[in-house]
């Protein structure tokens, strides 16, 4: 069950997307996320979906694998959709028990749902095609100006990269601990919420203890290998833009322009297609 979480997991393959500079992918993802929130019209999801499909296709990551990443956030997704459906006021189209479902609510909830799915898939593409080390390198580089105002950029990046490295290990360990406790008769499924929460203590205590031990060991191992912060450090894989990246930025700009045109002139576009 826990093995299914694909967020933050690198999928090894050789594609154009894998070979892009991580900064390009980071900036690209940010631009993509922003583009989803620029306009409220559903029409912008057409270029956004198309763009994402092309990107996913060129990443060589199986689509099914990518969609699996949505599973753990399914609850959040349903929650958002339901909340919008129930609480947005407007023209009532159906009434279930005392809950009124409005046309505006339905529209809004579908919009939010689509936005969330695109958002998660979009950021998934980045983490699946970029090793976390490269990603943190990119963050360090993009955030470098913040150093001037004494933000410990290197340290933040290092912490993130370590956290990412240990996510799969700790997930695996959680799985083992749960099984070990189930072997001693623990029950994580039945009972009310309070009982369920209580049943997690036998999992959380060993997990925390183990995480602290690992952190301690890791700190020692890093020190033993002469780690002393970012000062005087060289890089094995320094970031360097290539033609590929400039091309990617061009495509991004074109996409952004496409979204803006679609969003701004949505009525005209609809007229033009002849939908209205």
């Amino acid at each position: 069950m826990l093995r299914d979480i694909t967020i933050g997991q690198y999928y090894s393959a050789d594609s154009v997307l894998h070979r892009l500079d991580p900064r390009t992918k980071l900036v690209g993802t940010l631009i993509y996320l922003v583009s989803l929130f620029l306009f409220a019209t559903p029409l912008v999801y057409v270029p956004a979906t198309l763009f994402l499909m092309i990107v996913i296709f060129s990443s060589k990551v199986p689509f099914g694998y990518m969609v699996k990443g949505l599973k753990p956030v399914l609850f959040l997704l349903l929650f958002t959709v339901l909340m919008n459906m129930i609480f947005v006021k407007g023209e009532v189209i159906a009434t279930i028990w005392k809950i009124e479902i409005t046309k505006e609510g339905l529209k809004q909830s579908l919009l939010m749902g689509a936005r969330l799915i695109l958002l998660i898939l979009g950021s998934n593409v980045m983490t699946l095609t970029t090793t976390p080390t490269r990603l943190t390198n990119a963050m360090e580089s993009v955030m470098r100006p913040l150093k001037l105002i004494r933000v410990p950029v290197h340290e933040i990046a290092m912490m993130m990269s370590i956290a990412l490295r240990f996510i799969p290990i700790l997930l695996d360990e959680t799985d083992k601990i749960m099984k070990a406790q189930m072997a001693r008769g623990a029950d994580f499924e039945s009972g009310n919420l309070v009982k369920k929460a209580k049943s997690l203590i036998p999992v959380l205590v060993p997990l925390f203890i183990s995480a602290f031990r690992r952190a301690n060991d890791l700190a020692m191992a890093m020190e033993a290998r002469c780690y002393h912060g970012g000062e005087g450090r060289t890089q094995m894989k320094p970031l360097r833009y290539t033609g590929r990246d400039y091309a990617a930025y061009m495509i991004l700009l074109l996409y952004l322009a496409g979204v803006i045109v679609t969003g701004k002139y949505s009525t005209e576009v609809l007229d033009w297609i002849g939908v209205r």
């Binding site: 093995r3 083992k176 070990a180 406790q181 189930m182 072997a183 001693r184 623990a186 029950d187 060993p206």
Partner: protein, 288 residues
């Protein structure tokens, strides 16, 4: 006939990463029987499927094919009480660090029987008995389990499963990381358990020497399949085949083979130290 078979694994199949391009068949048509009071060794290199198999025995994992019968009942039937099964097939995982969480050793050992819904008196009685059974002293009762040595932690983990009064006790590499003395003490404690309580033991181990010394029967796993299921003597006669799958025979067996090819008339089926000693003395016509 049936009462002679406590647990039957019937054509078990299990796959990891289903539905991706990296599907691994961890168990591939695995069938065997555990008899009452038997000491069974389970060997195989890392990734051979033995850990996956062990987690089927108490229904922690559900097979993709085949099933397990316990006392004649299919444990993967909808109405079967799998929680109760875990009391009968006690599984102790490799690292006790993965389960210790209570403030005191006593509370830790109570965790198992408590989950079975027994009344508090019965729970405490069982806990006291189990703690004594694994050779922990009374001073340990109120100690934090985290302050104990590696060997003692393992005893606590075993005691907490024993307190559920299992009929089969499965131990996944109970001696990993222990020093030689700790290892010997733990194994003789397990041997003693089996002799006095009559429960069946399944020992998952990497040490051929330990397995040769203690078990009645060995199951050898490779790539999700059972390669051998026989007495230690028969299994270890296949030293070459075992080496091909990353295992080996006990060291003494190789010594006896060396001696045989050097012209000494020894019995090469010896697998324990005592057997090797006796056959060498005999071959030398030594009268001690």
């Amino acid at each position: 006939m049936m009462e002679n078979m406590k647990l039957i694994a019937d054509h078990l199949v299990y796959e990891y990463n289903k539905g991706t391009n990296q599907t691994v068949r961890a168990l591939d048509d695995v069938s065997f029987v555990i008899h009452p009071g038997e000491f069974l060794g389970l060997i195989g290199h890392t990734g051979s499927g033995k850990s996956t198999l062990v987690q089927h025995l108490n229904a922690l994992l559900r097979p993709d094919g085949g099933t397990i019968y316990y006392d004649g009942a299919d444990v993967f039937e909808k109405s079967y009480d799998r929680k109760a099964l875990r009391g009968k097939v006690g599984l102790v995982f490799q690292y006790p660090e993965h389960q210790l969480f209570e403030e005191t050793v006593f509370k830790e050992v109570c965790f198992g029987p408590n989950n079975m819904g027994l009344d508090i008196k019965e729970v405490e009685q069982r806990a006291y008995a189990a703690i004594a059974r694994v050779g922990l002293t009374e001073e340990c009762l109120d100690q934090s389990p985290f302050d104990l040595s590696g060997g003692q932690k393992r005893r606590v983990a075993i005691a907490s499963v024993l307190a559920m009064q299992p009929e089969i006790l499965v131990l996944d590499e109970p001696t990993a990381g222990l020093d030689p003395k700790g290892r010997d003490e733990l194994l003789s404690m397990i041997m003693d358990l089996r002799e006095t309580e009559g429960i069946s033991i399944v020992l998952v181990s990497h040490s051929m020497e330990d397995v040769a010394e203690y078990v009645d029967r060995i199951i050898v796993m490779d790539k999700g399949k059972i390669l051998y299921d026989d007495t230690p003597k028969v299994v270890f006669a296949h030293a070459k085949e075992l080496e091909a799958i990353g295992l080996s025979a006990p060291q003494v067996t190789y010594i006896l083979q060396d001696l045989k090819s050097a012209g000494l008339d020894v019995d090469t089926t010896g697998i324990t130290l005592a057997e090797a000693r006796n056959t060498i003395l005999e071959a030398l016509h030594w009268k001690g």
